[in-house]
């Protein structure tokens, strides 16, 4: 499309002047830009954070709904959007400022996580966030709060955030935190934006604390006959002094449970630690490589993706519930951190939408009951027909009135990714 065509299309639309005035390249939305089935009217592609702010300010003046996007790998997550006027593509925001001596990096929201890893790796460092969904950008990982197996030792992604700059709904850029590993000045608003699915602001850059790449890593894997046994194995490793990085469970649909323990550390000590873990897991094998599918989400395209949390000791009950959740689909595949109590599962795409909604509701009730109200089930991603069949992706969310109040203060007109979040936020 030529520049003149684009201009013509823009002028044919009502929202015109405003976005054009931002000075940022804007093109009409195409099918490939669809968010949960909704094709945006416009896609803005700013070159930098100032451009993001200009687009947001322009959109705000006309009350246009704005949805930020990185690589778009998880763009449909959450509930369906009520409105989607403008997709704000932050791919160009990919500047990386690595302060190796300080174990700190600031990265633009559009930076692909793999690219960031390459830069850090050159200095023997890494951001200990597992690449759960390949191709993700920094902004996407933070906005979805998606963490992998390493969350057990290093904490979820939000724990690694030192500072953040966002563009508010009204186009004002605001930072919180800082660029040093220790800092308690002001509210830590980065925590709030982590996992907020772009409903409170447009993340433009994030500063993380880093870790050295460990010199050696071993994985110890063992099969468990049933969920109760799997929990025993997990607990025995937790009680040991082996300081694992991750303890994962993996149960493919209609398969047995495997427990994987990842150990990382100095070369001199790794073998002894692996041997100790191995002695706790009868019939285990030790490998220097990560097992297949490590940290990846279960299921496939079109599946309904579930996230379950539970106190670690209630793992067997949750695994049992997942085995019986969808009678017509058979046991659901599960993968996740048995050590910290965060599991992912998936309802197959073939599941009838009404059955899927029912399965989610009954599974959620069972998880909540089995965990004494501590656990939760959220639907991260679901096909449109499942949403349309009456899916509640969030369940009961304590503190919802406070969340609404935050949303109202930071985005009074509700223009940022409207409807995607809990309680229709």
């Amino acid at each position: 499309m030529s520049g003149e065509d684009q201009q013509a299309r823009v002028e044919a639309d009502g929202a015109v002047g405003a976005l054009a005035a931002s000075g940022v390249p804007v093109r009409p939305g195409a099918d490939r830009d669809a968010v949960g089935g909704v094709v945006p009217r416009w896609v803005a592609e700013p070159a930098d954070a100032d451009g993001c702010a200009a687009v947001a300010a322009a959109a705000a003046r006309d009350g246009l709904a704005l949805v930020p996007r990185g690589a778009g790998t998880k763009i449909g997550w959450g509930a369906p959007l009520r409105r989607c006027d403008v997709v704000l593509d932050v791919s160009a925001l990919n500047r990386v400022d690595h302060a190796a001596g300080d174990l700190v990096v600031e990265a633009g929201a559009g930076t692909p996580v793999e690219d960031l890893a390459d830069v850090l790796g050159a200095s023997g460092q890494r951001l200990p966030v597992d690449p759960v969904v390949p191709g993700s950008t920094v902004g996407g990982v933070v906005a979805t709060g998606l963490s992998g197996p390493g969350r057990m030792l290093y904490g979820p992604v939000r724990d690694l955030i030192l500072g953040m700059t966002v563009v508010r709904a009204d186009g004002v850029a605001a930072s919180s935190g800082g660029r040093v590993v220790k800092n308690v000045a002001g509210y830590d608003l980065g925590k709030l934006h982590a996992g907020a699915l772009g409903t409170l602001g447009i993340i433009t850059s994030v500063t993380f604390r880093l870790r050295p790449v460990p010199p050696a890593a071993h994985t110890v894997s063992a099969r468990a006959d049933d969920p109760a046994r799997a929990r025993e194995l997990v607990a025995s490793v937790q009680r040991s002094h082996t300081a694992p990085t991750a303890i994962e469970v993996d149960r493919p649909a209609a398969g047995a449970v495997t427990v994987h323990v990842l150990l990382e550390g100095p070369k001199d000590g790794i073998r002894a630690r692996a041997d100790e873990v191995s002695s706790l897991l009868p019939g285990s094998s030790v490998s220097e490589d990560l097992p297949e599918g490590w940290g990846e989400l279960p299921g496939g395209p079109g599946d309904t993706l579930l996230k379950l949390t539970s106190p670690p000791a209630r793992l067997p009950a949750v695994l049992d519930a997942l085995a019986e959740a969808a009678p017509d689909a058979g046991p659901l595949p599960v993968r996740g951190s048995a050590g910290s109590g965060v599991l992912f599962s998936a309802l197959p795409s073939a599941t009838d939408p009404v059955n899927a909604v029912r399965a989610v509701a009954s599974l959620r009730a069972r998880v909540e009951e089995a965990t004494g109200g501590h656990g939760s089930l959220t639907v991260l991603d679901a096909p449109r027909p499942v949403h349309d069949a009456g899916l509640d992706p969030w369940g009961t969310v304590p503190g919802l009135p406070l969340m609404r109040s935050i949303k109202k203060n930071l985005d009074p007109d509700g223009v940022l990714s409207p409807g995607r979040f809990a309680g229709g936020i």
Binding site: G145, R158, G178, N183, A185, G186, Y187, T309, V397, S405
Partner: protein
């Protein structure tokens, strides 16, 4: 002890009040006093007769927290024993437009618990029950008044401990730790309070009780726990916390390396980081602070040391041994003239003794001092220390340096004689100039003590008006009436004068006068 800035709000005209404090702004002095005394019987109904302190001399004992430079006598003090009582008290304050200030053990160093004459001081010191230790789920459930170290004491029989360890850990309360996002010497490896809280029950400034999270991680919705921790009592009061417990490490080794000068010590730290070793703690002291510690506790550090570096390693025994050998080599290469190594608890305590006593010990070599808390990027440490030395030489004010070298958190101790006229002011100037250095190097005005009242006016040096406005918008989401620990954390015109910064567009809440423009 520094001279005190005792304020009595009863002398102020109501027009002096900032708009972040509509509760105060709307009512005159007599009116506020009346409101408060009318509140007393209702507070007594909530907390019981012995849970409300009105006697003047008793109230006065609450006039400061750990930072006595700021003092103000609370209008009334309440000592609730349950979460419900806390929520009822806050509900009453909200309904009556009376400000409240939360207080735990009163050990904070930023006057975050500075009371208000026109307000209620809500003290959690009677809520100190460890409700449950759950080793299977590696967590404990505690009331907010429980001392930090008491969690570890309760968890120790199961082989677990609570990792955040601020230096006041035997005293400071978990609730205070949550308000301040406390760290400690070992936060280099283990992180801060925010990384160790799974669940909270909070009493909101509107009087509600809300449970966030629990024994499972990553509760759905916004991460309100993450945002609440470190909010310095401006978003409500934590009435219960579920905290993560960490497995007691198999081995802990503490190394003490003595260098002739700070540069060599700094070089050792850099090489440790460059080699990919992540110690649990890296602490450094300069000659003056070593002198003070020797005077106070006879810590017996190596003679002639111009800098002492303490490196603590913990984890699986084999890893610790490997890392200890590496740290030893790196210290030697950087020029350490003596290295001591300890793995037993008593020997390690001997190494730590000097470091832990350093703050109080300075009292032995100087009549008065200011403890500063600033952060610089670790790689800028050498340069900043040089600048501090220059500041000290120029002003004639001695500065002792004790710091967390692993994360660049400086605690310069600015020494002066309070009997000497003008010395206090000069010390305060040096202390302020050190903060400027931190900001200039891209650091922070506080690494662990918090902003409170003490540094509220420094916030605009680190954040733009837009940053601050955004923070205030967030605060108002929890506290629309502006009654929760007002005038803490964010600067107000009353405390700091008009803050420069011209804004073109005005946020609707600012336009309505419901949020502050900075």
């Amino acid at each position: 002890m520094r001279e005190r800035a005792i304020r009595d709000r009863s002398d102020e005209s109501p027009h002096d009040r900032s708009t972040t404090d509509p509760a105060g702004a709307a009512h005159g002095r007599a009116d506020r006093a009346d409101r408060l005394s009318a509140l007393v019987p209702r507070l007594k109904r909530i907390c019981g007769g012995d849970g409300v302190i009105t006697d003047a001399s008793r109230r006065r004992t609450y006039e400061s927290d750990g930072l006595t430079y700021h003092a103000e006598v609370p209008g009334v003090v309440v000592l609730p024993t349950t979460a419900e009582q806390v929520a009822e008290v806050l509900g009453l304050c909200a309904a009556e437009g009376v400000p409240f200030v939360p207080r735990g053990a009163g050990t904070g160093l930023s006057a975050g618990a500075l009371p208000r004459t026109d307000g209620v001081l809500v003290t959690t010191s009677r809520m100190r029950r460890v409700i449950e230790v759950d080793p299977d789920n590696e967590c404990a459930v505690v009331q907010p008044g429980v001392a930090n170290l008491d969690i570890t004491r309760a968890a120790a029989p199961y082989g677990y401990y609570y990792a955040p360890d601020p230096s006041s850990q035997q005293v400071c309360s978990v609730g205070g730790n949550i308000a301040e996002n406390s760290g400690g010497a070992h936060c280099l490896k283990y992180g801060f309070t925010v990384n160790h809280v799974l669940g909270l029950q909070i009493a909101t400034p509107q009087g509600g009780l809300v449970r966030l999270g629990g024994k499972a991680p990553e509760a759905p919705g916004y991460d309100l726990i993450g945002a609440f921790i470190g909010s310095e009592g401006t978003l409500g009061i934590a009435t219960e916390a579920t905290v993560r417990l960490v497995r007691t490490p198999q081995k802990v080794t503490t190394l003490l390396a003595a260098f002739t000068g700070m540069d060599a010590g700094g070089e050792a730290v850099s090489s440790v980081v460059a080699e990919g070793v992540l110690p649990a703690a890296v602490e450094m002291m300069d000659a003056l602070s070593i002198e003070a510690a020797e005077a106070a506790v006879a810590c017996d550090y190596p003679e002639g040391a111009g800098a002492v570096l303490i490196v603590e390693l913990d984890g699986p025994a084999a890893d610790v041994d490997a890392d200890a050998a590496m740290v030893r080599r790196l210290c030697e290469r950087a020029g350490a003239f003596e290295i001591r190594e300890a793995s037993g608890a008593a020997e390690r305590a001997r190494i730590w003794k000097g470091r832990k006593s350093a703050f109080a010990a300075v009292g032995r070599i100087s009549p008065a001092y200011i403890v500063q808390d600033g952060v610089v990027p670790r790689t800028a440490l050498g340069e900043v220390l040089g600048d501090i030395a220059r500041l000290s030489a120029e002003s004639g004010i001695r500065v002792a340096n004790v710091f967390h070298a692993g994360d660049g958190n400086l605690h310069p101790l600015v020494l002066f004689d309070d009997a000497e006229p003008g010395a206090g002011e000069r010390a305060a100037e040096v202390s302020g100039a050190i903060l400027d250095l931190c900001i200039r190097h891209g650091g922070s005005i506080t690494g662990e003590h918090g902003v409170g009242v003490d540094k509220a006016c420094s916030m605009p040096r680190m954040f733009t008006p837009q940053d601050l406005e955004t923070m205030d918008l967030f605060r108002r989401a929890f506290d629309p009436a502006g009654v929760a620990n007002p005038e803490k954390l964010l600067p107000t015109p009353r405390l700091c004068g008009e803050v420069p910064g011209v804004r073109k567009d005005v946020h609707p809440l600012v336009a309505e006068g419901r949020a502050e423009q900075f």
